[in-house]
């Protein structure tokens, strides 16, 4: 069985579009960093980074076209990582 | 369980009782059910199984019920922990420093000690700090345990309602002598404690330098005989030549002097005795120049009276020989030096000799060579002692000599 039959092949155009979006977001995050927002700087930077990451994951890495199982798996991995980071703060934020 | 002398730990003991009680109950229940089923539904007794795939109700019961129970158990555990962690206002503070592998307790008036001495019925806050790696301060009788983390200040508290001496352990693994990082908690009544707090460090009649060496835990790594411990021996420092490795890697033979010792304490890594690693923690501000001088004076004193005795004790001589003139397994050391000795040599010939240096030396490294009358050839052979140790021992025997030897 050819791997091509059950597969959507996104075109070059889409990828270049995503790349453009990533470039813009990079510019935005560098720009915002020059403005002083205190702790919000980190939050904004992380929000933009996560947006960029989702673009990479969903389009460059084709997750958008994968089945539900794989999507769930990715979700689980990120949730676990979030738990590891988040729960450590139960300690360090209260010491 | 261990006697319990801390009022706040009553709740902990209660939590133990509740949880262990539940544990025993459920364990017995599970085991009994298992064995009963095993007997009752053996294939001989019950040749045909009834296929039961499950029961939603039962499953819900044994999900919800244990959840409720464990939440209860959690709560007793947590409240008892809270009691152990809530340090009363105005508690007296003692600083506890842990280091490889000894403890040092510093009181508010500057008094230091290597045992924790506290007054009865008084809350004591312990400010815990570590100088090298993680240790853990543990008093089983108090149910108190808390880690000493380098670079971090932690604290714990305790309060005793009973007089007495209790063990303090190091409960966090900290290397070679972790098992020896043990000291005492001494609970005194208030007057005794006040008196103890007011008096200086050294005990009556003890050399100040020796007291300081003990207090700073030097003997936890260095020995005062020639046995090798975690660090080079401090025996007769001034009288022994040693090879040291200088910072540039060259080797040199020196006879330790005050400057060398001072540097070794303040900057232990700078010049190392050959064969030893850079493991000793540097002692900076907490040791005043005067204190250091007293220690050096003690270490360099040429004929420390206690040195040979300490050796004899350490090597186990005093287990068989007394120093009061009565014979035990072996002849008494008192008056031994210079006395006339009669006995048999190894090949059974009788001899009649004076106990001089050569004779006594032989008696130590080759005891069967001369077995005195009235004693068995029972002494272990000490042929692994080096010259310095032997000299020390002989010096000690000489100091106990009778008229004949003088």
């Amino acid at each position: 069985m050819s791997e091509n039959t059950n597969h959507h092949a996104p075109g070059y155009g889409l990828f270049i579009g995503i790349w453009g979006a990533l470039m813009v977001l990079t510019a935005v995050t560098v720009g915002v960093a020059q403005v002083h927002l205190g702790f919000l700087n980190v939050v904004v930077a992380m929000a933009i980074a996560s947006l960029k990451a989702s673009l990479v994951v969903f389009f460059f890495m084709h997750l958008k076209y994968e089945n539900r199982t794989l999507k769930t798996m990715v979700l689980v991995a990120f949730v676990i990582l979030a738990i590891f980071i988040g729960f450590t703060f139960f300690d360090t934020a209260n010491r | 369980m261990y006697p319990q002398i801390f009022s706040a730990a009553k709740e902990v003991d209660q939590a133990f009782l509740i949880i262990l009680g539940f544990a025993v109950f459920i364990l017995v229940a599970v085991t009994v059910a298992m064995l009963y089923f095993l007997w009752r539904y053996d294939h001989k007794r019950n040749p045909h199984a009834t296929d039961i795939k499950g029961s939603v109700w039962l499953e819900i019961i044994w999900t919800v019920l244990p959840t409720i129970i464990v939440l209860g158990l959690f709560w007793t555990g947590w409240t008892s922990f809270k009691a152990m962690r809530t340090i009363p206002e105005g508690a007296m503070t003692v600083s506890v420093e842990g280091r490889m592998w000894s403890w040092r307790f510093t009181y508010e008036n500057g008094r230091t000690s290597n045992e924790l001495v506290i007054p009865v019925n008084t809350p004591v806050r312990l400010a815990l700090a570590s100088r090298d790696v993680i240790h853990s301060f543990y008093v089983p009788a108090m149910r108190v345990k808390w880690d000493l983390v380098p670079g971090m200040e932690t604290d714990a508290w305790l309060q005793s309602d009973t007089l007495g001496d209790y063990d303090i352990f190091c409960a966090e693994y900290c290397g070679l002598k972790h098992a020896d990082m043990i000291t005492l908690l001494r609970v005194l009544d208030q007057e005794e404690f006040d008196a103890w707090l007011a008096e200086g460090g050294a005990e009556e009649g003890e050399d100040v330098g020796l007291a300081l060496l003990k207090e700073f835990g030097c003997f936890d790594c260095h020995s005062m005989d020639l046995s090798e411990d975690a660090a080079p021996s401090l025996l007769d420092l001034g009288g022994r030549e040693q090879t040291v490795v200088l910072p540039d890697g060259t080797e040199k033979t020196i006879r330790p002097d005050a400057d060398f010792i001072r540097q070794s304490v303040r900057e232990p890594g700078a010049t190392l005795v050959k064969g030893w690693g850079d493991e000793m923690p540097p002692y900076g501000d907490e040791l005043s120049d005067a204190q250091l001088d007293a220690m050096i004076a003690y270490l360099l004193k040429p004929d420390r009276p206690d040195k040979g005795q300490a050796l004899a004790d350490e090597l186990g001589c005093l287990g068989c020989h007394t120093t009061d003139g009565t014979d035990d397994v072996g002849p008494s050391f008192l008056g031994l030096y210079g006395s006339e000795r009669k006995g048999k040599t190894a090949d059974g010939k009788p001899y009649d000799l004076k106990a001089d240096d050569a004779y006594l030396r032989r008696a130590i490294v080759e005891p069967s060579a001369n077995v005195p009358e009235g004693f068995d050839d029972a002494m272990p052979i000490y042929d692994d002692l080096d010259q310095a140790t032997l000299d020390q021992l002989l010096g000690y025997l000489k100091s106990l000599a009778g008229e004949g030897g003088q």
Binding site: M1, S2, E3, N4, N6, H7, A9, P10, G11, Y12, F15, I16, I18, W19, L22, M23, T26, T29, V30, A33, Q34, F39, N41, V42, A45, M46, I48, A49, K52, A53, V56, V57, F59, F60, M61, H62, E66, N67, T69, L70, M73, V74, A77, F78, I80, L81, F84, I85, T88, F89, T92, A93 | -
Partner: protein, 198 residues
């Protein structure tokens, strides 16, 4: 034994492997976030010492290389081997570019004594030292992944040459691409965390 041709399975395996990579870096992100929480001002100060221009350039370089990686998969899927090889070459070229820039950044800092144990760094506050310890560890590990990624692409390129990776069975290239995107993904977080916390 027959070679398994389970396309979905192969890709699932690759994703699972990527999870392990994410969690590998995850451990370092735990350290980073906690240390940032403890020394916000020091991190802020230390971050200013990094060159934002270089960092931004590298971000652009890596994202673009990621684009080429994605394009190479698309090209092979569409059946044009040559284009795919061209895009792989571009990806690798940009990866080299990334490493060169990284090398200049590092060596510049190291010359200035700003490295763990370096004569300048040891004089600074603990918070700043922590920043740089983490900086070297995380970007170092990331750099290592860039190098591994290049190795993987070289291998896939050889597979394409040997016609073991073809427009019909391109999962090797696709997985190499996935790996490369992950390297990019991690950089997307490293960049603001180190260069933009100002």
């Amino acid at each position: 034994m027959t070679e398994h041709r389970d396309y979905v399975g192969a890709k699932m395996g690759m994703w699972l492997f990527l999870f392990t990579e994410i969690l590998l870096f995850g451990g370092l992100f735990v350290l980073y976030s906690v240390t940032l929480g403890r020394y916000p001002t020091e991190f802020h100060e230390a971050s200013k010492l990094l060159d934002v221009t270089m960092g931004t350039t590298n971000t652009v370089v890596l994202i673009t290389s990621s684009l080429f990686a994605a394009l190479s998969v698309a090209a092979l899927q569409k059946g044009s081997r040559k284009t795919a090889e061209l895009f792989i070459g571009l990806t690798m070229a940009l990866a080299c570019c990334f490493l060169v820039i990284k090398y200049f950044e590092w060596s510049h800092k190291i010359h200035a004594g700003i490295y763990p144990g370096g004569e300048t760094l040891v004089q600074w506050e603990p918070g700043k030292q922590a920043f740089f310890s983490l900086y070297y560890t995380m970007t170092g590990l990331h750099g290592l992944h860039v190098i591994i990624g290049m190795g993987v692409f070289t291998w896939v390129w050889a597979m394409i040459r040997l016609e073991r990776c073809t427009p019909d069975h391109f999962v090797a290239l696709e997985n190499a691409g996935l790996y490369w995107h992950l390297v990019d993904l991690i950089w997307i977080y490293l960049f603001p965390l180190y260069y933009l916390i100002t």
